[in-house]
């Protein structure tokens, strides 16, 4: 990546006339500093408005009025112990005590003309 390329760009832009330094002022695009600044503000505000009440929330699903708990659940995230495996996506075995799991009926075969994609079914 050359010096004039944007932070997200991988490769070279031999034919791109817009490859020069870009305007990162408000309304003209973004730079990491803006994002970082925004993140800083978010954390500051979160500390004041959100984090303090959340500090006592051990079980996110029991605090539906807490934005952090709801955010965790919406993103499939739950807090994990330091020694827990570092899963790349939200995985099971985290909300077992809270979710009322449903025993699913035996799967019914697809009707003729179904849109079902079963190409990777066993």
């Amino acid at each position: 990546m050359s010096e004039g390329d944007p932070w997200w760009f991988t490769g070279t832009l031999p034919d791109d006339k817009s490859a020069g330094p870009r305007d990162r002022t408000p309304g003209g695009g973004f730079s990491l500093s803006f994002l970082a600044s925004g993140a800083q503000q978010l954390v500051d505000m979160a500390k004041q408005v959100i984090v303090a009440p959340h500090a006592d929330h051990e079980v996110p699903e029991q605090h539906g009025d807490c934005i952090i708990c709801r955010g965790q659940l919406a993103l499939g995230e739950v807090r994990r112990r330091p020694d827990a495996p570092n899963d790349d996506v939200a995985t099971g075995a985290k909300l077992e005590s809270a979710v009322e799991w449903i025993h699913l009926d035996a799967a019914r075969p697809a009707a003729s003309g179904s849109l079902a994609d079963r190409r990777l079914w066993p």
Partner: protein
């Protein structure tokens, strides 16, 4: 109406060559006269996370509150979304290096939450803005982030967008694809094509005992009708760029797989309700479902999606559920104590 650029999203197994594929495709597209741009929003993820970690530590938050950075890890997705949003102004085609598929799923979850569960994440930012606590620059930044989330969400729904999984033909290939294709479906997306990298060709001198099972796995996928594009394992092309460039045309020709339909509710004759959740491409044995308060939790191969129940369903009890073809159908019956006649 402005024409949106075509968006190719590449994501795959760690070490499968996603970044090489992105570069090879972009170079090939540019060589064909298409103004293509490649983006990789991961470059600053560590900086963003470090910033959040430092701030949380400086704020003296306790152990429990250290969960905050994990919530904000959505910023990793935001970085990629911002990059795509900005790149949309630069050309006709964007090749997005979304990295490992787990990360892409996280981005899709973020975008889905931004659309359907806005009350879960974004309103506090708006509320903060309304409170005029942020500087003008930061307000502009957050406004831009919100705009980027909206525009990239729209790009994902566009007919010109394709999602391609990048994998290698090792043992476990089918399991990987079954998991990830199902999880993409759960996140209201789909896999439009599969780039299988490092496929040893006949006559290239590879030990046949090693090469044949790999070729067989690819042929098996192809035999199942999956949109497979195999990338040759060239002995003198370590980064794989040459091999990827040769297949750029096939990538562009990949058809778009229909995306899942929105959830729908049907009232039954007995007064109960059926909630239909479309999960095309998901193996039934990979699906779990459960209720968490007023939300439905749907799990596919360990990945969970939580959606708020419609008000009418919050006053019901779940009778049961099951997969019917490519639909998860959850049966609800009225909780009589919560309906008007009982009040």
């Amino acid at each position: 109406m402005l024409k949106r650029p075509r968006l190719l999203i590449l994501s795959g197994q760690a070490g499968a060559g996603t970044s090489s594929a992105v570069l090879g495709l972009r170079e090939s597209l540019c060589g064909s006269g298409i103004a293509a741009t490649s983006v990789d929003g991961r470059g600053h993820v560590s900086e963003i996370e470090s910033l959040v970690d430092r701030t949380v530590a400086a704020a003296g938050l306790g152990t429990t509150a250290q969960a905050l950075p994990r919530v904000l890890s959505g910023l990793t997705g935001i970085a990629g979304v911002l990059a795509v949003h900005e790149a949309a102004e630069r050309g006709d085609c964007i090749v997005w290096d979304a990295g490992e598929t787990g990360g892409l799923l996280r981005v899709l979850a973020l975008l889905d939450a931004a659309r359907s569960e806005a009350a879960s994440i974004l309103p506090p930012l708006i509320a903060m803005r309304a409170a005029r606590s942020l500087s003008a620059v930061d307000r502009a930044a957050w406004q831009g982030i919100l705009a980027a989330l909206r525009s990239v969400r729209a790009m994902l729904d566009d007919d010109g967008t394709r999602v391609l999984l990048v994998a290698v033909p090792d043992d476990g290939l089918e399991e990987f694809l079954a998991d990830r294709i199902g999880q993409l479906s759960l996140m209201r997306s789909a896999c439009d094509g599969i780039l299988v990298n490092r496929v040893p060709r006949n006559g290239d001198g590879w030990p046949e005992s090693w090469a044949e099972p790999r070729r067989h796995r690819v042929e098996r996928l192809r035999g199942r009708g999956l949109p497979v594009i195999d990338i040759a394992h060239l002995t003198n092309d370590a980064p794989g760029k040459t091999a990827f460039r040769a297949q750029a045309g096939r990538v562009l020709d990949v058809a778009r797989v229909p995306r899942p339909f929105p959830d729908s509710i049907k009232e039954r004759d007995d007064g109960g309700f059926d909630l239909h959740v479309h999960l095309p491409g998901v193996r039934p044995d990979h699906v779990n479902a459960g209720r968490l308060g007023d939300s439905l939790v749907t799990e596919v191969a360990g990945l969970r999606r939580q959606t708020s129940l419609a008000p009418v369903l919050t006053r019901c009890e779940i009778q049961g559920a099951g997969m019917d073809s490519d639909w998860l159908i959850v049966r609800f019956e009225r909780n009589q104590s919560l309906w008007p006649e009982a009040l």
